[in-house]
């Protein structure tokens, strides 16, 4: 079996495991995006619903892996996208079925109590600008180092490595290719900074906002370190092939664990209430509330935010996020063509 297919199957299995645990990453009193009694998930019915969803999600995963192995399309993008889309859409469909079941048979209604902090600015709104300075400064220092030691750079150096760890694409010594990792790193940081700022400004002051903004702030550091290592590789820096994925995976896993503990901790989750009626959650996944001025609303499952699709401004904000997200990708493509 080719190494590429093994890598793709591993990707699918990784996402399949995430789908198995997704319903558990939720606040107390929410189960499959429906409002329930806090003890319901541990009840016999709750366990049965979860078990049934997990079986269905596992079947979608097996089907997706089967498609990946049996029908490998010629185009690499299709080979990557088709099985993944099949699994995501299939699992989302199963999730929607469970949302309907839980909401219809075990759903509860809680008063929509909202709370505003009267201190100015509210503690949850404070934006830790100083946390964002070191990563940008480190990238700027790396750029200065590259400029100062330009003559020591080889005429040709690897810019892409295959699954086996061997370089499979090379580039010549040109400003765009040499500075590409630093520029892409800065663009990525800018993207995350933009997201954190938007969340801090356009969402309610809840535990989810504090967790999400802190997550983005901390994630910036391993990401920046990764881009700095890649930028210095042409100097002959020897880095084990597993080092960068290991740094990222360790940090991401640690941050997800920390966020999970914060979100599901009953004392914290209940500290700032943000209940919404289940009727505002279409299919348990899409928030639509014309009476709510919030653009970003904490997701009911997982960590992070979704938009309020009833607010027309959300499309403008989504377009802005997409543009910010395309910047590092565009830089990567430009550098890759050189």
């Amino acid at each position: 079996m080719k190494a590429e297919v093994v890598t793709l199957v591993l990707h699918l299995m990784f996402v399949a495991v995430i789908f198995q645990f997704t319903p558990l990453i939720t606040r107390r009193g929410i189960f499959f995006s429906a409002t329930v009694d806090p003890d319901f998930p541990r009840s016999a019915d709750g366990r049965r619903v979860l078990r049934s969803y997990r079986w269905q999600a596992a079947l979608w995963a097996v089907l997706a892996i089967g498609v990946q192995l049996v029908l490998p399309p010629r185009h690499p993008l299709t080979a990557m996208l088709l099985p993944m889309l099949l699994m995501i859409i299939g699992s989302a469909f199963s999730y929607w079925l469970k949302f309907r079941e839980v909401h219809t048979h075990y759903g509860q209604r809680r008063p929509e109590i909202r709370q505003a902090e009267l201190s100015v600015p509210p503690a949850g709104e404070r934006f830790n600008a100083w946390l964002w300075v070191p990563p940008f400064a480190a990238l700027a220092l790396t750029a200065a180092y590259l400029q100062l030691h330009w003559s020591q750079l080889p005429e040709r150096f690897p810019v892409h490595w295959g699954a086996d760890g061997q370089p499979n694409r090379w580039s010549s010594r040109e400003p765009l290719t040499v500075f590409a990792p630093v520029l892409i790193g800065a663009a990525m940081n800018l993207f995350m900074l933009g997201l954190a700022w938007l969340f801090s400004q356009l969402s309610r002051n809840t535990i989810m906002r504090r967790v999400t903004v802190r997550l983005l702030e901390v994630l910036l550091y391993p990401l920046t370190l990764t881009f700095i290592i890649v930028a210095l590789l042409p100097f002959g820096l020897v880095v084990p092939v597993w080092l960068i994925p290991a740094i990222m995976l360790t940090c991401v896993a640690g941050l997800i664990f920390w966020s999970y503990r914060q979100i599901v901790a009953p004392a914290l989750a209940d500290a700032v209430p943000d209940p919404q009626s289940d009727s505002y959650w279409k299919a348990g996944m899409f928030y639509y509330n014309p009476n709510d001025p919030a653009i970003f609303v904490a997701k009911r499952v997982g960590i992070g935010y979704t938009v309020n699709f009833a607010n027309k401004m959300c499309w403008l904000v989504l377009a802005g996020i997409l543009l910010l997200g395309l910047l590092p990708a565009a830089l990567g493509i430009l550098a890759g063509r050189k």
Binding site: R114, P122, G124, S203
Partner: protein
């Protein structure tokens, strides 16, 4: 975080959100918890946190400004200002008396004993005056 001054409203309540905001802020102002010179969150921030329309919060701030509690200036935060306690007119006292009788009647109709009512009113007056 838990010590921060907060305002809570119930969006399911039969009392309109704007009225709840005015009532909640007035309690904090009368009791002195929102002290002279304090700044309130912007209309946008308050509306976002409470999940109500911006105009609802703006109207609530204007009502309290008309009562003399807040100073509003375009582009700046609403600020708590010094306010002289006005002398109530006879009409105002009659209106409050009428509203109080209606409230007491409603509470008695729901079975709340008169003694409990008296105690609650005394405690509320003492808390807000202190």
């Amino acid at each position: 975080m838990t010590d921060a001054l907060t305002l809570r409203i119930d969006l399911d309540s039969s009392i309109p959100a704007g009225r709840q905001i005015v009532d909640g802020l007035r309690i904090l102002l009368v009791s002195g918890k929102l002290s002279l010179g304090s700044e309130l969150p912007s209309v946008r921030r308050m509306a976002l946190d409470l999940g109500v329309h911006f105009n609802t919060v703006a109207d609530a701030y204007r009502t309290l400004a008309d009562e003399g509690w807040l100073h509003l200036h375009h582009g700046r935060a609403a600020r708590v200002v010094c306010r002289d306690v006005p002398n109530p007119t006879m009409d105002q006292m009659d209106e409050f008396g009428h509203r109080l009788r209606a409230l007491v009647a409603e509470m008695l109709a729901k079975g709340i004993p008169a003694a409990k009512l008296q105690d609650d009113m005394r405690v509320a007056a003492e808390e807000l005056e202190s």
